[in-house]
């Protein structure tokens, strides 16, 4: 994997945006990290929070906005260190979508099974509401999915996942640990159900 381009665009005294040539995380929507323990499944976030003087980081697609500690190093000192940390994390590709990543066998077998269920059972059902669900990955028995169409931004998306998709998958795969939804629901343009009331 080549080293990503990482431009730095200071926003103000405390905030600076770094932009890469590829997305940092599987999660599509903005995601904020303030503590290393929140970032254990997101190596780029873990790496940037490990830089002395970095207080918070907001990841969104190919962009990360870093907040520095006002009492810590200046941006002149921090920018190259953040660029190095992010570049190394992305290049090691622990969480960026990387087709070369070799999942452990159990996850691989589970991926095939889940993919088959999605094609033959799940997607024909959600298509009735104009939706679709893509299988992105299986990580430690957790199924990573992305919703689109009528499911993206739907007020009942969680219900569909928990009461429909997960229930169906667990019948076939009792060892399934759960489902992780990385959909940017805020960008859904045609949700089947919209949240409008108390």
């Amino acid at each position: 994997m080549t080293t990503p381009v990482l431009s730095a665009e200071p926003i103000d005294e405390l905030r600076c945006a770094f932009v890469a040539d590829r997305p940092f995380l599987l999660d599509e929507g903005p995601r904020k990290f303030t503590r290393p323990e929140e970032a254990t499944e997101a190596p780029p976030a873990e790496a940037v929070l490990a830089v002395d003087g970095v207080r918070e980081a907001v990841f969104s697609g190919d962009r990360v906005t870093v907040v520095r500690d006002p009492a810590g190093p200046s941006w002149d000192d921090l920018i190259p260190r953040v660029q190095y940390a992010l570049g190394a994390a992305v290049t090691s590709a622990a969480i960026v979508v990387d087709p070369d990543r070799a999942p452990v066998l159990d996850d691989e077998a589970m991926y095939d099974e889940v993919e088959h269920i999605f094609q033959t059972q799940i997607n024909p059902i959600v298509a009735q509401h104009g939706g679709a669900i893509d299988l992105i990955d299986v990580q430690d028995a957790t199924v990573v999915i992305r919703m689109s169409g009528g499911c993206q931004g739907c007020g009942m998306a969680n219900v569909t996942l928990r009461q429909g998709v997960e229930a169906a998958l667990k019948k076939a795969i009792p060892t399934l640990a759960g489902i992780r939804d990385v959909t940017d629901h805020g960008s859904g343009a045609n949700p089947y159900f919209s949240s409008t009331s108390k």
Binding site: I11, G155, M156, N158, R162, G164, G186, S195, K198
Partner: protein, 414 residues
């Protein structure tokens, strides 16, 4: 080896709710067998009939019959409605199944602003003076006696929808006409009636509480730092803990308790809007449900930082021996109001706003292309800004700083 049977929870979730995710997560946290009922079919309703039900929430008797049938196959331990309408259904269903519940009449009274005010006035709870009017039988002589400023509001609807301040006879006439159009569009089947109340000046507060055997515990008292003086009453920032003095907080709690008692509510969540001025506390609204929108996400309880929804479902399941206290840290939320009518496109500057120290999350809850209108015609929010900090002042500054960086793009609709 077999374990104890798990408790089945029936969660009544309207498809328009903002809070499906929060309640699903809470049910998971409590390891409850969950059945979700909505007023419209889920895509999986046929394939997962134990997990998903469709109920006509407008007809509680139908719901009772349908759930009683389901209960025979899958015994239900608790039923919980998340909004005004489903709270009524939950009370009827729980009564029929012999579960702990609020009296249905009490929940129905809480959802009817006129009935609520009649009961509160009889019990001596301090509320604004009010008068009931039906659109088809408006008495001009009665309107001539209105004291200004006043507030016009529908007996149904929620979240300040249709609520307008009026300062003279001319604005009163316009408000009545406008409200009639709003009601005909929003709730044509509901009672086409409205109240005219005295406008009560003063600081406004929101009390989030939980009732157990009729005793009210305040889970959180929110300050509302933006003035709510009309002509419409858009909620914006909520901050907790309240900075009101201890005597004022006690007076607000006591007023809310008196209102719950007057209505006959004994169990579960209440959300109460109050004002306080030189004459003391005033009850403005009471609902037998938790706080709306996604505002509940700013609340965390006990050492395990449990969510509001977890606390409420735990009580419904009979698994809340003590009511935990809210965390000591301050928190707040801003409901992003609709600034003008049009077609929502997007909100720019989200990443920068989210990078504001203290801001923990920003959620956009309106989809691109949605037609939006500000109050009083509609009451939906564009989204929510959440923040935490050492004190309410720091939280408020973080929220305002983040909001200032947002650029809301709404295209004018022809």
């Amino acid at each position: 080896m077999t374990g104890a049977p798990r408790s089945r929870l029936l969660l009544l979730l309207p498809t328009t709710t903002y809070r499906a995710g929060a309640f699903i997560a809470a049910a998971d946290a409590l390891d409850a067998d969950l059945t979700v009922a909505s007023e419209k079919d889920s895509a999986f309703s046929t394939d997962e009939p134990d997990a998903l039900l469709t109920l006509n929430f407008a007809e509680p008797a139908e719901c009772v019959a349908r759930v009683a049938q389901f209960h025979r196959r899958h015994p239900i331990r608790a039923v919980f409605g998340v909004d005004d309408r489903t709270a009524v259904v939950a009370a009827h269903v729980a009564q029929a199944l012999g579960l702990d519940h609020n009296p249905p009449a009490a929940v129905e009274a809480a959802g009817d602003k006129f009935r609520q005010r009649q009961l509160l006035a009889t019990a001596g709870v301090p509320i604004p003076s009010f008068a009931y009017h039906h659109f088809d039988r408006i008495d001009p002589a009665s309107l001539a006696t209105v004291r200004f400023p006043a507030v016009v509001k529908p007996v149904s609807l929620s979240a300040s929808r249709g609520v307008m301040r009026v300062d003279n006879p001319d604005s009163l006439a316009k408000a009545i006409s406008r409200l009639r159009a709003i009601l005909e569009e929003a709730a044509p089947a509901s009672e086409q009636a409205f109240l005219i109340e005295d406008y009560i000046p003063g600081e406004e507060y929101a009390l989030e509480g939980i009732l157990d055997d009729g005793r009210l515990t305040t889970l959180a008292l929110f300050d509302k730092p933006d003035p709510l003086e009309g002509p419409t009453f858009a909620e914006t920032i909520y901050l907790t803990p309240s900075q009101a003095s201890a005597p004022v907080q006690a007076a607000l709690h006591d007023t809310a308790q008196a209102a719950c008692t007057a209505l006959g509510l004994v169990r579960g969540p209440v959300h109460v809007e109050l004002r306080y001025n030189a004459r003391g506390p005033w009850l403005v609204e009471l609902a037998a449900r938790p706080i709306g929108g996604r505002c509940g996400e700013v609340l965390r309880f006990g050492p395990e930082a449990k969510s509001l929804e977890t606390i409420l479902l735990a009580q419904a399941l009979g698994r809340l021996p003590t009511i935990p206290s809210r965390e000591p840290q301050a928190s707040g939320v801003m409901m992003l109001p609709v600034p003008r009518a049009g077609t929502f496109q997007r909100i720019d500057g989200l990443e920068t706003a989210l990078a504001t120290p203290g801001v923990t999350d920003i959620a956009v809850t309106v989809h691109r292309g949605a037609r939006v209108r500000p109050l009083p015609e509609e009451s939906r929010y564009l989204g929510f800004i959440f923040a935490r900090g050492p004190d309410p002042g720091t939280v408020e500054r973080a929220i305002r700083q983040a909001f200032a960086t947002l650029d809301i793009i709404i295209e004018q609709t022809p």
